[in-house]
């Protein structure tokens, strides 16, 4: 199979719950071997979309094809190709990790050997703890066990819905390393949802941003987070007209906007030190300078809008 072979194809997908439109005319494709980041704020429609990919929620409209098969008519065949952890990995806590994996392995079809169970326990780093009851596990261990269950039948596609939720910083780092290893060493196609751009940036090669159920942008992470698109925000305190001064200087072409106390430039990351020097030379009293990626800034603006609505700001 070639790298460009589509493993997931979503076309015009919508879901409404009564009058509330959770997902609105969403279309995207995922290629084999992709680590595909699915980014959006809480309530953006990520989980609903992921549940539709898994047949847990019935779409109101649209088509989902996985490995060329329409999930509506071939659900069982499609699910054989998928391993998933949806939100928290809720497991049978009164059973051991081994029993949990073994039980779901039987449901996943085929003859899954004890050696394969040992192998997935090794991959997720739970060897030695497999016979402990799951109720004694930490959240991070439960997450890893959830991934072991998703991996046990060796699926082509792994769907991980907010896998770092509820983990401490060390757990997040371990989970990130595990996902990267699964993509690189195990060759899995992975869909990972998150509300953190930074997390997607570190893990995914392609991504989609969803907001209020609609697609905002989709593409290669490297292209979307191109260093040419850095936004540099400068705060200053001067009596003179700094905006006009900058417009007349070599930095004028990079100036996006300006006020009596702030300036915003759009430029490549490499130019930021020269800009700082240039502003100081021009007599601008800089109190703060901050660079953000334009996509990140856009994403943060979505967050701020939502926070403002919720009364946080």
């Amino acid at each position: 199979m070639e790298q460009s072979e589509q493993i997931v194809s979503v076309e015009g997908l919508s879901k409404s719950f009564g009058n509330f439109v959770a997902v609105d005319d969403l279309s995207f494709t995922i290629n084999k071997g992709d680590v595909y980041g699915f980014l959006g704020q809480n309530g953006a429609g990520k989980s609903t979309t992921i549940r539709m990919l898994l047949g847990l929620i019935h779409p109101t409209k649209g088509e989902i094809k996985i490995a060329g098969l329409d999930i509506k008519n071939n659900k069982t065949a499609v699910l054989k190709k998928i391993g998933a952890v949806v939100e928290r990995p809720d497991l049978y806590t009164y059973l051991s990790a081994w029993d949990n994996i073994s039980m779901f392995a039987k449901l996943s079809g085929g003859n899954i050997s004890k050696d394969r169970i040992k192998e997935v326990l090794e991959i997720v780093g739970l060897t030695g703890r497999e016979h402990s009851k799951v109720k004694a596990y930490s959240q991070g261990m439960k997450q890893r066990l959830g991934i072991a269950i998703a991996l046990v039948h060796d699926p082509d596609l792994l769907i991980l819905d907010e896998p770092t939720n509820g983990l401490d910083p060390q757990g997040i780092a371990e989970m990130r390393a595990l996902i990267l290893r699964l993509g690189r060493e195990e060759g899995k196609t992975i869909i990972i949802s998150s509300h953190l751009l930074h997390e997607i940036e570190l893990i995914a090669n392609r991504m989609l941003i969803i907001h209020k159920g609609k697609k905002v942008v989709e593409g290669e992470v490297k292209e979307l987070l191109n260093p040419d698109d850095m936004l540099v925000d400068v705060s200053y305190s001067n009596d003179k007209d700094v905006v006009q001064l900058i417009k007349n200087s070599e930095w004028g072409t990079f100036l996006e906007s300006g006020t009596k106390t702030t300036l915003r430039f759009k430029m490549h990351l490499d130019k930021v030190p020269a800009l700082t020097k240039g502003l100081v030379t021009a007599g601008v009293n800089i109190s703060e300078i901050k660079s953000t990626h334009s996509l990140e800034a856009y994403f943060l603006s979505l967050t701020n809008q939502l926070d403002a609505k919720a009364g946080v700001i």
Partner: protein
């Protein structure tokens, strides 16, 4: 998958509460009858208002079993609902249903296997009731003629004519309890929390039992269509002659209800969005 469902049911301590309740209740009645059984029978005979001169051993294992069955078969539905009401809703509540449904098993299979495991659990409860109720009672009190009251008449069944009736009654009780399990599974498919289906099942059974037992003209119209009216059909095996047509009719109604409840559960569950 059936093996897995049974493993889940029998791995949980809650499952054994039902067996413990049946054991405790049966042993209590057996002990009470051992210590004050003659007094109880004397009172019961007085209450009928007649003068009787009955020879032989009235208090025997068969009579005790009959008393246990009469009392306990009203409570057993609660014990069944405790487990059957939890099979789908309990998993939805804990989140494991979500994981289960991401595996390549159809929803129809999931409901049918869960229902089948509930049937096995219900039958095993009835078998346990037979062992503890009938087996232990006969062991303690010995076997004998069974005397029971029907209307104003006593029905006397000879010792050698009783055991097969119990076997048939337990089979009938298993059908009745399967009907309760099917109702619980339906409520379980409708709900995302485990308590709701258990309470709903018991509420339906209590209300229907009231309708079935109260002799009011309005209730009399609906009585023949209520499954609770037919759940006590096992008693027919202790009449002489046995009213087979009425027993078959009751079993038929219960089976129709089972089919109806399970089909509705399949319909609902296959269309349900899993948001839990």
């Amino acid at each position: 998958m059936l093996k897995l469902e049974l493993y889940k049911i029998f791995s949980r301590p809650r499952t054994y509460i039902s067996f413990a309740v049946i054991t405790a209740f049966s042993l209590s009645i057996e002990l009470a009858m051992l210590s004050g059984g003659d007094e109880y029978i004397g009172l019961a005979l007085k209450m009928t208002g007649g003068q009787f001169d009955i020879g032989g051993k009235i208090i025997n294992g068969y009579l005790i079993t009959y008393l246990i069955l009469q009392s306990l078969l009203i409570q057993v539905p609660l014990l069944i609902a405790l487990v059957a009401g939890d099979v789908i809703a309990g998993e939805a509540n804990k989140g494991t249903l979500r994981l289960l449904l991401t595996k390549p098993v159809s929803r129809t299979q999931i409901v049918l296997y869960k229902f089948a495991s509930c049937v096995i659990y219900s039958v095993s409860l009835i078998v346990w009731l037979a062992i503890i109720g009938l087996g232990l009672s006969v062991l303690i009190f010995g076997a004998g003629d069974l005397i029971n009251l029907k209307g104003n008449m006593f029905v006397v069944l000879l010792k050698d004519d009783v055991l097969w009736r119990y076997a048939a009654a337990f089979v009938f009780a298993a059908i009745a309890m399967t009907c309760v399990a099917a109702l619980s599974v339906l409520f379980s498919a409708l709900s995302d929390n485990a308590i709701g289906p258990i309470i709903s099942t018991m509420a339906v059974i209590i209300v229907m039992m009231l309708f079935s037992n109260m002799n009011l003209p309005l209730f009399n119209i609906v009585k023949p269509y209520l499954f609770t009216t037919h759940m006590i059909g096992w008693k027919g095996f202790f009449e002489d002659p046995v009213p087979y047509s009425s027993i078959y009719k009751s079993a038929g109604v219960l089976i129709l209800y089972i089919i109806g409840f399970v089909s509705t559960a399949l319909f609902v569950f296959n269309r349900k969005d899993i948001k839990s």
